[in-house]
Structure formats: C-alpha cells, structure tokens
Symmetry: D2
Subunit: 385 residues, 4 copies
C-alpha cells in the first residue's frame, strides 16, 4: 500500500512544539509518511538551531530553508514570506506531498499555505479559528480560507471556522498538540526545577523556592514601535511586587528589536539584580517553570493555552491575546504599571489553578494522524454561504 505523504514545514521553536506530537504520530503511523522541511528561525543559530533538536528527536529534514530577512520590521516580515513562497514550490515539487500540514498563524504558515494551495495540494491547518491581536489574527483566518482540513484546538475555535464558511465535515476539534507535550512532561517529571537552570542564559541567580515571576512578552506587530515602553512597564511592575523573575527574550517578529532594546537598557540600568534571562528554553524546562512560577506575566499565548492545562496564574497584558478563548487562570490588564502590578499581587496570592482542558487533553497528535489517513477533500474550495 502506498503511504499518504504528509509534509510539515516547521519554521520556529514555537512551531515545533506546536506540531511535534503530530509529527511523531504521523511518522509512527503505518499508513502515513512524514516529509519535513525546516525553515525560517528554526534553522538559525541565533534562535538556538531548533533543527538540531529536531534531528535529535529522530526526524530527518528533507531541506533547510533560510528565509528570514534581517530587520524584523513589518516590511521584512512581508519579504520573508515572499522568500518562502519562492523556495517552497521547488521543494514541494521534489516531495509531491498528498497533504501539507501547517501550524498556527505565523508568516511561515502563510508562505507554506499559499505555496501548497496554489499548487493544488490539500492544506491541513492546526490552531485555526482562534482570536488574538497582531497581524496573526488576519493570517490565521486567511489561512483558514485556503485550508481544506481544519484541526482547531478548542470548541470555540471550531465553531468560528464553520462560521467562516468552511465545511463542517472537514473541521475536527482535536485539541492543541502542544498540550500533548505538556501532559507528557507533567506526567514524567516531579515538577522540581532542574539544578542546572541558571547555567544557561545570562543574569543573576536566585532561589526558586521563593516566589518568582515568569516574564514572556512579545511584540505586537500592529503596534510596531511601542515594544520598548511595553516591556519596561512590565519589568517595573514585577520589580515593584518584589518578585524575582525569569525573563524570556522575544521571538523573531516585527518589533522584536524594540522589546530586546528595552530588556538591554533595563540590564544596563542594573535593575536586574534578581532576574535571569533566556533566549531559548527547552520546552521541558519551560513547562516546569510554568508549574513553579508564582505568576506568568506578559502576552504569550502559552499562558492562556498551556496555562489552562497546568493551572498557571497568568497576568495577560495588552492586545496580543485579545479575545482568545481563556480559562479562569488569566487576568487581563492594559499597558499600565499599576494594573499589571495589582494583578500580579492577586495572582501570587491566589496560587495555582485547577486544570482546565479547554485546549485539549493530550491526544491531539494521534487524532490528527488518524484523520489524515482517511480524510479526502475537494481541492476546489467553496464557501458554504
């Protein structure tokens, strides 16, 4: 029997943890063949060479595509999408996939989707139908309009995809594959933080037995130019609450430089006496930090998604996660030091929340693989109304 060829394009560290459990399930399935292209920040040293991690995990990339144009401005993000669109068709032609499986709402996702859809290759899409801020909001729904098979991560998302005019029979609520990894990590580890935590990253050490914040704040592309002020407010609020903190550098997106500059200036002002900074954390470490932290502060979707499952108290700042379905563990605040500070205080006092399976129960990857074995689509899409 010929195996169905499923091609996955992984473009970043976050991308990878969002699809890894599905990749594994596809690779292990007797009726499926996994084809893998690694691209964008996932092939770059500066972002921790995720491609090496991918290979260590037992996957074999067919090609590595550098496609990030330096600058990380809105304009270079568009141009990087263009580069992807130029290179991916040649690679898809080499591979001849039956389905291209794409993840989320980043610019690599857009390039992957457009290339496949133009080439009449059915597109399967995870994490569609969610609502958020930044250009991701538009990318996500546009990708839905190109995709043929939908794997939303929550019930609300599934309903939204159908409202967008997609055929209900191709919309499969499977949960988020990231939660699969989280469940696995929570299952196997005691939850204690690694002794060697502070060996990586830069900055100060502190005792993780005392309460500490986990800060993860990314640029909002549609508010380009304001990132430096935004991260500074956040760091001030954390400091005001007397918390030590693990601070993550922002991911590669238009405006990353602004956030990074804010962090660098903070460090130059020597305000980081109880802070430690990481560029890239293994997801295992990150999940354990989410379990241990008194509070996650920032605008990462992980607070809302993984946070719901882990029960992490979250202070979600600003517009980036606007309207994304969320559980009780999240307090939303604006770009305002007092609001942020007060919310941190409340969350530290509250402590850990109960588990909420809003974004899945840890079985998304195998569900995706199973559906991909049998699902047949008409490559010609047609709106339902």
């Amino acid at each position: 029997m010929t195996k169905r060829k499923i091609c996955v394009v992984v473009g970043s560290r976050a991308n990878y943890s969002s699809i890894k459990s599905a990749m594994r399930a596809i690779q292990d399935h007797p009726a499926l063949e996994l084809q893998l292209i690694v691209a964008a920040s996932a092939v770059l040293d500066r972002y921790g060479s995720v491609v090496n991690l991918i290979e260590k995990d037992g996957f074999r990339p067919h090609a590595r595509v550098t496609m990030l144009i330096e600058g990380e401005t809105p304009a270079t993000m568009a141009k990087s999408t263009g580069l992807g669109l130029i290179e991916l068709p040649t690679l898809f032609e080499q591979l001849g996939p039956d389905v291209v499986l794409t993840v989320g709402d980043r610019f690599e996702t857009m390039a992957t989707t457009l290339a496949a859809a133009y080439m009449n290759i059915p597109v399967a899409h995870t994490m569609g139908g969610e609502v958020s801020g930044t250009i991701d909001e538009s990318i996500r729904h546009a990708v839905t309009k190109f995709a043929h098979i939908h794997f939303p991560a929550s019930q609300g998302a599934a309903e939204r995809i159908i409202k967008l005019g997609e055929l209900p029979r191709h919309v499969h609520m499977v949960g988020c594959p990231r939660i699969d990894l989280v469940a696995e990590i929570l299952g196997r580890s005691s939850g204690g933080l690694d002794a060697g935590l502070f060996d990586l990253g830069v900055g100060q050490q502190f005792s993780v037995d005392e309460p500490f914040a986990l800060v993860s704040q990314h640029p909002v592309t549609t508010e380009y130019g304001t990132g430096e002020a935004q991260i500074t407010l956040t760091l001030e609020a954390v400091r005001e609450q007397g918390l030590a903190a693990i601070v993550l550098w922002p991911n590669a997106d238009a405006g990353s430089d602004d956030i990074s500059r804010g962090i660098r200036k903070w460090r130059e002002r020597k305000l980081d006496d109880r802070m430690h900074f990481f560029k890239n954390l293994p997801i295992e470490t990150y999940v354990n930090l989410m379990r241990s932290a008194a509070c996650l502060v920032g605008n990462s979707s992980s607070g809302i998604r993984e946070g719901a499952y882990i029960g992490t108290p979250v202070v979600n700042i600003g517009t980036r996660q606007h309207m994304r379905d969320r559980g009780d563990n999240v307090i939303d605040v604006g770009y305002d030091k007092k609001q942020i500070s007060d919310a941190i205080a409340r969350q530290v006092e509250h402590g850990r929340y109960a588990m909420d399976p809003i974004y899945g129960d840890g079985t998304a990857g195998t569900k995706i693989a199973d559906i991909l074995v049998t699902e047949r689509v008409d490559v010609q899409k047609c709106i339902t109304y």
Copy 2:
C-alpha cells in the same frame, strides 16, 4: 490640507479595467492623491504593454515591477506572488500610502494585500465576497480577512463579507467599477463594430452582421492540465452551431499554456475558417463585441458581470464561475459538447436580454473615492464573532 495618499497596484489588463474609474475619481478628487504601481502582466509586451495604455490615460506610474515567473504553472504562480512580496514593501516604504487599494482575486492581489497588511497600511479591497471556482475563490476570501475597507460589487457579496466576520460599517456596496466603463462606452458609442476590427489579431474575417459567438475561456487553476480538452469542446460546439466566432486567448494564469495549445492545434487542423483570434482587445472593442455577439461562450466573469448590464446572452461553462451571483442572461453548462451546443442554440434564439444592474449602475468609482476621503479604520483587525 494634506491629501490622503491612496496607492493602487495594477497587475493586469483585467485589473486595470476593474479599477480605472476609481483611479480617475481618486486622481481628480481634491482631498486624495493617487499613487500607482504597475506590475506583473501589465508591464509586459507579451500582454500588450498595458502600462503604456495607463500612461496614455494620464496616469503616472511610480514604479514598474516585473514579477511574472515563466511557466504559468501553479508553482510559478506561487513564486510570482513571492516576488511581489519581496519588491512591494520597498516601494510602499518609498510612497508611504495611507491606504492601499487592491482589486479582485489574482495573485498580484494577494501579494499587494499581504505586503500592505504586514506593514500596517490599511487595505481597501474591491470585488470581495463573490463566489467562483479556481484558486481565486480562496484568494478572494483570504484577502477579505486582511482587508480593512471592503467595496463589494453586489448585494450578495456584501452580505457574504459580513458573514465572514467583517465589521458591517466598513463594508460598502458600491457596485463594480468595470460597469462604470461599460456604462460610459455604451453611452457614447453607437454600438456598431469598428470597421478595422479584423486588422488586429490573426485568423479569418467574416461578416459581423451575421450572428457570431464571442469565445472567452480561461484556465481553471484547480483543474490544472485539462484546459486543452476544455477549449476544444467549446470550439467544437461553436462550430457545430454553424457560428462564426471571435476567440480570445486566455489570460496569464496557471494552465494558460494548455488552453493556448488547444487553440493552436485547432488552427493547425484548419478548423478555424470562420474564426478570428485576439490576444488583447481594448475594452471599448470588447464591450461592443459583447453588445453585438449572438452569444458569449466560455467561463469569463465578464459574461456574468458586464453581461448582466449589457444584456449579452451567455453560455457559461464549467466551474470557474461557480456560484457567482448572476442574472437571467446566463445558462450554465458542464464540460460537455452537447450541453454547450444546445445552450448556444437557445441563447442565439433568445437574443439580447434586458439590463440588470446586479453588479452596479456605473457610479462605483466616485463612490469609492468619496468613501476613501473619510473612512478611518483600526489597523488591528478583529473577527466579529
């Protein structure tokens, strides 16, 4: 007072006639400044150097962007989109437009929209919300999900845009700017066909006083590879009905080569004794042909759109115009010689239909300009459900 800068990217002959009346209204408006980029097939000799026509009409292009990659396969269409995405950001940065106005559902439209949206420039979109076949169907709705201001051409389209989760206050049913040109041409000309008609193009001459068919059939990208058979069926049906014909070569899209090969073989088989072939027709001539033809046969949207206004009897073949809102002047048939032939016979017998303003009344251009003067949008989009 500073004028609002409205940037239009024109990528093909069809594009140009779909936006020309709006361009003129913008250029003439005291509160607006027109910025123009001419790209893709509109700058190519092989497609009749539309850019020269644009300049003759009094517009001044800021830049000319060659971005069509040869091959006209699905893969090169994706790559051409990529080229546009690489070049347009540099030009948008030079121009600093307040709004980018984009047209329809072609790959240039996708590139223009993505570049502007990533760069946080509000996007206005004409002809959204319609339904059709080919990849255009997906492009059109994806562009809607990026666009901030919508100028649908029909009531049904406007309703569909709102169902797609767009804000009703930014959806303006203005009609189709192409109808503006049609109305103008019908108004000023007697309708008789130009004596010099057969000086252009290649093939045989015939008397236009006898009934003749106008054949305009384009590739369906999602049925890539079947174009040669499709056009051959059409030409056979026309011949079976004993009609002379004006036959248009297909436009630049994945699969054009297939259609062209079909036409070339038809000619080599000497079956074209009463047929004349055109690469590019001035819109004035085309409208007059639509008025004079006994029947338009093929899958051009013009049969459905302009045809409604002009009253042209249309035999619409196959999936390309699937579900597009249409008037009584259209008979839909499959890729089947007998069906096509019978429908031609019925339409020739019926003769011209009454005017139906389903796609506008000839005032779309000025309406668009007026709205662009005052419309203010939030660059951060958000789905309404």
Copy 3:
C-alpha cells in the same frame, strides 16, 4: 570508496548540448557521481521542455527550478539571476557536491557560479576564456575569476584564462563537449536530412536538395532594442540571394522579443514563401542541417564552433561573436544588407570547408570526467600577479 559528487546545473537547450557528453562521462565513471539540477528555460514548455529530453537520455534531475522572469529585458535577466541565487543554495545544501560544474556564459551560469563559490564549493567551468560580444563577454570572464578548475575549449581560450591570473595547473584545454556530440552524429548518420523535417515547425516546405540557408540570429543584449531591424536585414539578404531558408527563433535572452517580432512581421508581410521556422530542433537535426546548408547566416556561436568541425560555410553578422577564435569557414560582416548578401553569395559558391579541430576533436567529455576524479583545489582563490 566514496564517489566524488559532481553537480551540474543545466539551464537551457544550448547548455544541455554543451555539457551532455561530460554528464554522460561523469555518470558512467566509477569514481564519480552525477548530481543534476535542471533550471531556467530548460524546464519550460515554451522552450520545448528540455527536461523531458534529459530524462529520456537517462539522467535523473534532483530538482527543477523555474527562475525565468517574463519580459526578457536586461532588467528581468538580472532578476532571474537573483532568483537562481535564492534557490540554488538550498539545493546545493541538500546535495553537498564536491564540485559544481558550470557551462559557458549565460545568466544561469552566473547564478550557479556565485552560489557555489560563496558556499566554498569548488567550481569547474567549461568554455571560459573565449571572446565574444553581449553581456556574455563580461559574465564569462567574471565566472573565470570565481572558478577553480577551467576547461577551455580552444588553445587561445586557455591562454587567455592564464592571462586573467588563473593558475596554469588548473587550466585544462579539453575542447568543447558540443563537438563530442557533433562528432558522434556525423559518425553515425548518413547526413541526409530526415524526411519528416517539415512536420515540425511552421511555414512553407521546400526541396532540401536545392541550396538553402540556415538562419540563426540571437539578440545582442548590449544592443538591446535593435533586434527587429537586425533580423529583418538578414532575412532580406537571404531572400535577395534567392535562397530558401530554415529560420530558427531566437533563444531566451534580453531582446528575444525584438527578434521574434521581426520574424512575425516578416511572416505577416508574406515574405516567407520559401522559409520554414523552428522553435527547437533536436541537436541531431541541427547538425545535419549544418552539414546540408549552403550557408549558415546569423550570429550563432555554432557557426564558429561546430561550423569549424563540420565545415559549414558561415556568414557571421555583427558583434555577438566579436573576436571569438574562428576558422576559415567564417566570413564576418556588419549589420548591412549588401555585405550580408554578398557574403552569402561567396559562401554558397565556395561550398563546404575542410574540418578544423580548433574547438576540439570529440573527446572533451571523457577528459573532463577524468580530470574531475583527481583534481584538488584550494577553495581560496588568489590572483597570480
């Protein structure tokens, strides 16, 4: 033993016949592995899908790269080079060749060479050191300055490469691999023209027993815009001499459209009553035409190169082959109808010349393969003076 991996990038029909005998020798050599990328006009339908021919000849392309940007202007030629530079590195990384072998002086050659040289992959180059007109003249010498191993086709070319500061020990005069094919064809065929000759192409038929001209005239990129006048003069001179003619369409380069327009207009003026036109000829047919023709007229390098070996009388027009080493079979003339016409008359009277092995004796391919087995280079180049 590990085989040395030799990667060849074939970008056009002419490219292919210039390297085919070397490809075969590499593929057949026990110590070498052939890696093949097919690109540019060689993957296009419009240029006769050379890639299909390549596969029929028993070669397996690793990838097919569409990289021709439509327009065939000087600007699009530059942009096409850019596209090649974007895609080839990803493919070279997949293949990991020990040597990249590149051919001649076209823009694909430039892209291939730059990509490999930047990536520290040793570059071997055939047909360097020759002299000609057009941008090819600059490309050829620039490629020499990047190349590590040189396979010039004539003694004069070898000397020129050394004067350019290259290391003599890496300059190997092997002759031109095209001559290998010519020798093979001359060896096996009787030289009579195929009965089915006129089944292909378009235009009139004539008796090939009477004297006829073979016209092959290509654009001169540095004289962009003058091609229509140039080809018209040539056709007029042929007609003045009362010769029937086989006329080839120009190859894909900046200015091709001008030449093509000249030919189309000639045909529309019905001056082609004894002319037949071909887009693409199998090299076997072409060589036999060169053997049978009373005279080759135009500016193709084949007149000078293969013509010397075959003994074809050649009228070489204008600057395109300026200063290229040539034998007695060539009369050079300017863009002047009388000069061209007189020279045709002299050549028709003279008849076939004796064989002159200036461009090789038919063993270039095996020599190239043998040298590639053992040649070791320093990837860091250094001028010798």
Copy 4:
C-alpha cells in the same frame, strides 16, 4: 545642461566611509547629480542604522532595501546577493542613472554590479585590483570584469586591473576615498580620545593613557567555521602581553556568528577585565583610536590601508589580507598565539610609523567626481588580449 546622474548603492558602514568623500564631491559638482540607494546592513538597527547617519550628513536616499538574509552563512550570503539582484533593477529603472558607482568587494557590490551591467548601465568601481583572501578576492576581480570605469586605490592595484585585460584609458589611480576622511579627521582633531568613549559599547573601562590594543577581526568566508578559535587566539595573545583592549564586533558576513560567539564566551569566562567592546564606532572615533592605539591586532583592511596613512603599528593575522599591498607598519602572522603575542610586543616597542601615502593622499573623492563628468565608455566590454 543635463546633469549626469551617478547612482551609488551603499550597503554597510564600511562601504559608506569608503565612498562618502566621493558622494560629497558628486553632490557638490554642478555637472553631476547624486542618486543614492541604501541597502543591506546599512539600513539595519542591529548595525547602527547607518542610513540615519547618511541622512544626517545631508544625503537623501531614494530607497532603502533590506536584503540581508539571517544566518550569515555562505549560503545566506549568496541568497542575499540574489535578493539585491531582484530589487535593484526596479530601482535603477526608476532612477535611470548614467553611471552606477560601486565600492569594493562585498556581496552588495556584486549585486549592484550585476544588476547595472545586465541593464547596460556603465559601472564605475572603486578599490578594484587589490589582492586579499576570502571570497572578496574573487568578487573584486569579477566586478572588475563587469566594470567600465576603474578607480583603483593604489598603483599596484591599477597595474593588476590592466593585466586583467581592462582598457588602460579607463583605469584611474585616484587613491582610496577612505583616506580622504582620515586626512580630514587627522587635520581637524587634536588626536586626543573623546572623554565619553566608554559611554558607548559594553565592558570595562581603562585608562587610555596606558598602551592599549585595538582588536578588529572579521570572519574569513573561505575558512567558514573556524572564527571562534581564531578570535580566541587573538584575545589570549593580547591578554598575554598585558594590554588593555578596545575590541570591535565583526561585520556582517558569513561566519560573523562564530567570531561573536568567541567574544561572548571570552566575556562569560570573565577574561575581559581590561577590555571594552563596540558594535559600531563613528569613523572619527575609529581613526582617533588608530592614532592612539599601541597596536592594531586582527585582520581588518583598515590596518593596512588607513594604517599606512596614520602610521598605526599593525599585527595582521591570517589570510584575510593575503597579498594586499602594504607598508612597513604591518607585521603578518599566522593563527598562532605565540606569533601574535611576539608581534604585538615588537609593535608596541616600535611605536607609531611615518605616514605612507600608498593608498592615496586625501583627494580621491574630487578626482572621482571630476572623471565621472567627462568619462565616456562603450557599454560593450571587450578583453584587451
């Protein structure tokens, strides 16, 4: 009178100081018009936004082109060249320059040269004919083979250009425009270092009255992967000699990441107690550092070029400046700690050298402008032998 339009493409900080005096002379000349495109690292924040400096100096960029693909590997350098080749033709078409003036031997230079040469725009080139290591060696001579007007910076370089087959009448030995800036700075400043020197950059402060080293070491693209070891040896030697040091981060090239990693690890090992690190220095500061430093250590061309004029003692390491014409102020050593350390000791003991005008006397810019007014070239190049 129509001014001759001279278009300069500036791609990096080093590029800018290498052409600034010529830009000023062109801008000030009544018969010339300066057209400016700023590209590559010169538009990036991460490299100090040279474009802002350019504007502060009174120049007006026509366009800003982001074209650096992240990764800084040999492959991305090739792809970045490709991006430049895709965008520059559109901009050259907007500007219609009479001459494109390009600088040195970087990948932006290659893209600029290729784009202009393909488009039949005469190319003028500064700093050709020199000899060095890395891929620059090949780029430089390849650019010479495309260029029509040559402005070498030394007598030896001029002779080499002529040996490469260029027409002597288009080879003008004008000296290096960088020396113009150096002469100006030396003329106006006392030579004392700015009090605020240590306000910028990161690291430790030290007294600049004591002897200190200036370390400037860049990747050698043809030795890709060895940069970390190379810089480490250098820093160890400096430390062994007991010198404080100003250390510059490497410029953007394949392998920068390796050097940067070496520096970062050095700092993490806390070996930097008397070192201060700069990303970008204003040229004024840099020249004054070269005047004050006890020794310049590394492989920057500035040691050889500006160093000759200033009299800076230089320890030049490795292959990057291989064979470049040099004065008495340079001691060449291999990648060997002892050799480097000993040479530093000798140079510190020797102290400043006498001025040597081998790379010009400070008048290159005006000479270039004057020649560009009258020089006329044949766009068709032809080798002289």
